[in-house]
């Protein structure tokens, strides 16, 4: 049944993005908001809006009872959960399903299954998707460990089977080291946990974070190529690209095909992302987890493929078959997204929930800015610091970086501190320009004071 009244159970820039997609599909939008969000842009833009509770998330955006009551009260026939909040809550998806309302996402059962790391790994292995190789179970002695390590491949991580929290993890480069380290690990595990059993896993050091965007209609699934998201701080992505220039054509093809195989195997419906670790040295990728929702960085995939992922997920979850085949989806040029957060990067990323004065954003070919700001807006302190995203697209990666710099320099956001100086400094960094980075790169770069030195030499004007 086609969707006519879409309830948006989220806030911030993604709520604005969903309002736009729904409007273009001729769907009436109903925006949920907390008492701390009465002035937010999506409330002003949506056709209707409804308050779902006090400012703290647990009393509003995370309160399933309150959200369900608002869905019923507004006669919504579909719910878009956005990202974060209740987007990957099987309990919420189940409540929506039970109310006879369409959930813009996969079934509660799929969310539950793919949200469980062990189950997701099993599903991936069954679909032929590579996972980080490891011992099938416990390893009891050194000869066993050496045999397993040979099949898993060096370097290997030696962990206590009963352990956790990174305690006692050792890395062996070869069998000689393994034979020395395994007994130590066994003794330590036995004294710390009363259990000398070990577990071996391939050590993927300095990996890249590469993910594949997929979209399915419950029967069929396609991919919209990969994203490179290795620049992270405190496990939060800072800068994202499509595509990953470190991949050769064959690896890209195999990677993306593996994601589609898993999506089809679980009869995936909606937009989803499969996250992988990529070991550049060995040219191997390993599935780590699946996100069963739209992601913050989806625009870079939209920019290189021309696919509107938010519209498409609304359509397929409303019961339509995918509107495109894999052959219809082609890559064009390179896109970069940077996250504009209300934080002062020169003051240990101190949050800065200020009031916005004068605002201006540049416009032009290949420039897209997704945000929820307007002049006079007081950024509320109750939620995360994401104000918006600057997305640029150009023929080549180098041209995209150049466009990113001119775009960022032309932005005016008076009264706020933002992460724009960080992105300007990154754009000027030689390693970033060469694409030579991994998930462990940005934090040491910051600790080495590279941002401060870039700021004082005028690199980040």
């Amino acid at each position: 049944m086609p969707i006519s009244r879409l309830f948006i159970a989220n806030r911030g820039e993604i709520a604005v993005r969903i309002v736009r997609a729904a409007r273009e599909l001729g769907i009436t939008t109903i925006q949920a908001y907390s008492e701390g969000d009465t002035e937010m842009l999506a409330v002003k833009q949506a056709d209707e809006s409804i308050c779902i509770g006090p400012a703290p998330s647990k009393d509003s955006y995370l309160n399933i009872k309150a959200v369900m009551a608002a869905i019923k009260q507004t006669n919504a026939d579909a719910v878009h959960p956005g990202y974060g909040f209740l987007s990957e809550s099987p309990e919420f998806a189940r409540a929506v399903e039970a109310a006879g309302v369409t959930f813009i996402g996969p079934s509660a059962a799929t969310i539950e299954r793919m949200g469980d790391k062990v189950e997701a790994r099993k599903a991936a292995e069954a679909a032929g998707v590579p996972v980080v190789p490891g011992s099938k179970g416990r390893v009891e002695n050194v000869d066993d460990a050496a045999r397993v390590a040979k099949s898993v491949g060096y370097p290997v991580m030696i962990k206590a089977a009963a352990g956790g929290g990174g305690r006692g993890i050792r890395v062996a480069e070869n069998e000689e080291q393994l034979r020395k380290l395994a007994p130590q690990a066994q003794n330590e595990a036995a004294s710390a946990f009363g259990d000398g059993g070990l577990y071996l896993e391939r050590a993927v050091r300095s990996p890249r974070h590469i993910e594949v965007q997929i979209i399915g209609d419950g029967t069929n699934a396609v991919h919209c190529y990969e994203r490179e998201c290795s620049l992270q701080r405190r496990r939060q992505k800072v800068w994202e690209e499509a595509g990953a220039v470190c991949l050769d054509a064959q690896t890209r093809e195999t990677l993306c095909a593996s994601a589609v195989a898993l999506a089809k195997a679980v009869n995936y419906r909606g937009a989803g992302t499969l996250e992988y670790l990529y070991d550049e040295a060995s040219n191997e990728f390993f599935f780590i987890e699946m996100n069963t929702r739209i992601q913050v960085e989806h625009p870079v995939s939209e920019m290189i493929t021309g696919v509107d992922l938010v519209q498409e997920m609304i359509k397929v979850c409303g019961g339509a078959p995918l509107s495109m085949t894999q052959e219809d989806i082609t890559r064009n040029g390179h896109a970069i997204e940077v996250r504009i957060n209300a934080e002062d990067p020169l003051m240990q990323f101190m949050p800065w929930p200020g009031k916005l004065g004068k605002m201006s954003f540049p416009e032009g070919e290949g420039i897209r800015i997704d945000h929820f700001l307007y002049e006079g807006y007081q950024v509320p302190p109750f939620y995360d610091s994401l104000l918006g995203k600057v997305i640029v697209h150009a023929d080549t990666r180098a041209a995209a970086i150049a466009k990113l710099k001119t775009t960022l320099r032309a932005i005016t956001l008076e009264g706020l501190k933002t992460t724009i100086p960080l992105h300007l400094a990154l754009a000027d960094d030689v390693s970033v320009q060469e694409g030579a980075f991994h998930t462990q790169w940005l934090e040491p770069w910051l600790e080495a004071g590279k941002l401060q030195s870039a700021a004082t030499t005028g690199g980040a004007s």
């Binding site: 703290p56 934080e343 101190m350 949050p351 929930p353 302190p381 109750f382 610091s385």
Partner: protein, 78 residues
């Protein structure tokens, strides 16, 4: 008497975590630099510190209450 004000808007907490005791109770001696509470702002916890020494006279707002920048959170006596 000295007021301790919130450096940022956010949510003010009397305790380091929900299971723990408040940072200060009325009558406690406070040294300059002592943490008297936390303000949660954009999912980050900022410590609120006393700028002067004194005797704790009590919190001015409830635990887990929303606060604005500059709002008085607690008072100190001589």
């Amino acid at each position: 008497m000295a007021d301790i004000q919130s450096p940022l808007p956010g949510t003010f907490f009397h305790k380091p975590s929900p299971e723990e005791a408040p940072f200060k109770v009325t009558g406690d001696t406070v040294a300059a630099g002592d943490t008297i509470g936390l303000v949660e702002v954009m999912k980050t916890f900022i410590e609120v510190k006393a700028e002067t020494a004194g005797t704790f006279k009590g919190y001015s707002v409830d635990d887990a209450a929303p606060v604005t920048a500059g709002q008085t959170l607690a008072t100190l006596g001589d």
